[in-house]
């Protein structure tokens, strides 16, 4: 602080509290709605304070699914989302880290070609090649499978760049020393490089877990069978059906369940999250 300006400090706190409150407001209302019964919701406007049907509502959506909607019980959808998030984040980390290792520590023909190929994936988000990618997945008979949900999404330029950047900052002497001691490339990778990369891996994991959990368009395209629905895509199906039936209380319980896992990851791994976010963009 350069100087003491009490009014400005007060104003700062005021704006920050107001900002935090506005940011939290929709989630609070959603949570409140998820604790009431259908009668209260039918009466018109959403109440402002929590009701007493929280446990009943959450039990219903988790194990029976929203009655009258075209979606299965939420517990299964959450499991699918978890499988998808973990497979995508772990898969991305593994294939990116070995690709970055090859590009930094080896000299081989086509090295730069591979590098640029990986770079170009940045310019081809799923959204711009929806139909042909769907066709490829269909031709490979990967519709309605976990491989179809995850494998096409695990190529990642950002993760490869992050690890490449990190490897470039590792002192050359380490590789030299390892070579003199007779360690081969894989030995060096496992015993020296990988332990050093731990914090970057954790940061990457947080970002990619959120990315995987929050996928929407992809599961929408790839899944037609209920047993493969993920929660984020399942919820919009419920919303479209529910408006007529006014089952908002249970749908809002699903919304809360859909955001709890990634929000918990962000809050409890805040340091890694910020690090991952800022470093992937370098």
């Amino acid at each position: 602080m350069v100087e003491n300006r009490p009014y400005l400090t007060f104003l700062s706190h005021f704006i920050l509290i107001l900002g935090a409150a506005i940011v939290a407001f929709p989630v609070y209302v959603t949570f409140v709605a998820s604790t009431h019964d259908q009668q209260t919701m039918l009466a018109g406007v959403t109440p402002f304070f929590p009701g007493e049907h929280m446990i009943a509502n959450y039990k219903e959506v988790l194990f029976e699914g929203v009655v009258g909607s075209r979606a299965p019980p939420v517990a299964g959808m959450m499991l699918n989302s978890l499988i998808m998030a973990l497979a995508i984040s772990i898969g991305k980390i593994i294939i990116s880290i070995i690709a970055a290792y090859a590009i930094v520590y080896f000299k081989f023909p086509l090295r730069m070609t591979f590098f640029w190929m990986i770079f170009i994936t940045l310019m081809l988000p799923v959204e711009v090649r929806i139909l042909p990618t769907y066709k490829v997945v269909a031709d490979l008979a990967m519709l309605d499978t976990y491989t179809g949900l995850t494998i096409p999404l695990i190529a990642s330029a950002t993760a490869t760049f992050l690890f490449r950047q990190f490897f470039l900052s590792v002192p050359d002497e380490l590789a030299e020393a390892a070579r003199i001691d007779g360690a081969g490339p894989m030995r060096f990778f496992w015993d020296i490089l990988l332990p050093l990369t731990r914090t970057s891996i954790a940061a990457m994991f947080v970002i990619q877990f959120i990315y995987g959990w929050n996928q929407y368009l992809w599961p929408l395209l790839i899944t037609t069978k209920e047993e493969y629905y993920t929660i984020v895509m399942g919820i919009s199906r419920m919303v479209n059906v529910v408006d007529a039936a006014a089952r908002w209380n249970v749908v809002m319980a699903v919304a809360i369940l859909a955001m709890i896992p990634p929000v918990i990851v962000v809050i409890f791994m805040q340091r890694q999250f910020v690090k991952g976010l800022v470093e992937t963009e370098k």
Binding site: S12, V29, V45, I98, A102, V128, L217, V278
Partner: protein, 293 residues
């Protein structure tokens, strides 16, 4: 770009890059190539044969009023999402940079919306503004404002912009705060000694030094508004009412999957690819510019 000390092995590096390259080729390059090919072809109604028609598909989409409408919706949408998103998060970041007490608590309370999926963010705001049960639409009714985003196109657009800004604010906030904290305190102190007040210091010192971060965020936010808001649109408005919220990405999806217009959808994909290429190049130029301070 590469290490002084390198390992020599003939097949190992290929093996290491193989999985990444295989996925890139099968699920990125090949579909992109297919989209480009499809965009200059016309299929007969039965999908049995196709012929080369140069740029007819492009001419067709660019003379299609619904496509041009979708273009202008996308522009309005992106300008609003980017403008409000950057403005609000800059305000919050500047305030968070000022306070000493409770700074980490504020940070925690402002960063979590990043973890909420765009589609879920859309559902939350759609519920608040729902014409029958929404809390905010209730207050709007009380003060006599006719609110029904399901029928009113402008209101629907406002709603998806609001949800998109809410979803993106934490990302911008984190980067602005990091940018602010990297500005040397000595510069600010020197200006204060010279008698510059907080406002003057912000506009003459902080703001110019923050401009590389701002430029970077500008590009990222445009990309976000163009491509990653599909979930919000799909979950809240479905492009309606009367195509008032049909952004380009949504139209590609709709024309390809619902209307089965392969050539037109592919041509739209190619246009979008060009937009991403321009934006990505812009984003990477930022890296060169950032070295300044």
């Amino acid at each position: 770009m590469q290490k002084r000390v390198v390992f020599n092995n003939f097949w190992l590096p290929y093996l290491l890059v193989a999985p990444q390259i295989a996925i890139t080729l099968i699920f990125f390059m090949w579909p992109a190539y297919q989209a480009m090919l499809q965009s200059v072809l016309q299929e007969d109604p039965f999908g049995l044969s196709s012929k080369f028609i140069w740029f007819e598909n492009f001419e067709r989409i660019f003379s299609d009023p619904t496509y041009l409408n979708s273009f202008s919706v996308t522009v309005i949408f992106s300008v609003c999402v980017t403008g409000f998103g950057l403005g609000l998060s800059l305000l919050l970041a500047v305030m968070a940079d000022r306070v000493i007490k409770g700074a980490t608590t504020y940070k925690t309370f402002l960063i979590w919306p990043y973890a909420v999926a765009p589609a879920v963010a859309g559902v939350l705001w759609g519920f608040l503004f729902n014409p029958t049960v929404g809390l905010i639409s209730y207050f709007l009714r009380v003060i006599g404002y006719e609110w029904n985003y399901i029928l009113n196109g402008n209101q629907a657009l406002f709603l998806v912009i609001l949800a998109a800004v809410w979803n993106q604010i934490s990302y911008n906030f984190i980067f602005f705060l990091a940018g602010l904290q990297s500005i040397p305190k000595s510069l600010i102190e020197a200006a204060a000694i010279d008698g510059a007040g907080p406002g003057r210091r912000f506009w003459s010192i902080v703001f110019p030094l923050l401009s590389p971060t701002g430029f970077f965020l500008l590009v990222v936010n445009i990309v976000y508004a163009f491509f990653h808001t599909f979930g919000i649109i799909h979950a809240v408005t479905g492009g309606g009412p009367a195509k008032a919220t049909e952004i380009l990405v949504f139209k590609v999806y709709n024309d390809g999957f619902r209307a089965q217009d392969l050539g037109g959808s592919a041509a739209q994909s190619v246009v979008l690819m060009l937009i991403v290429v321009v934006l990505t190049v812009a984003q990477f130029r930022y890296i060169e510019r950032r070295v300044h301070y």
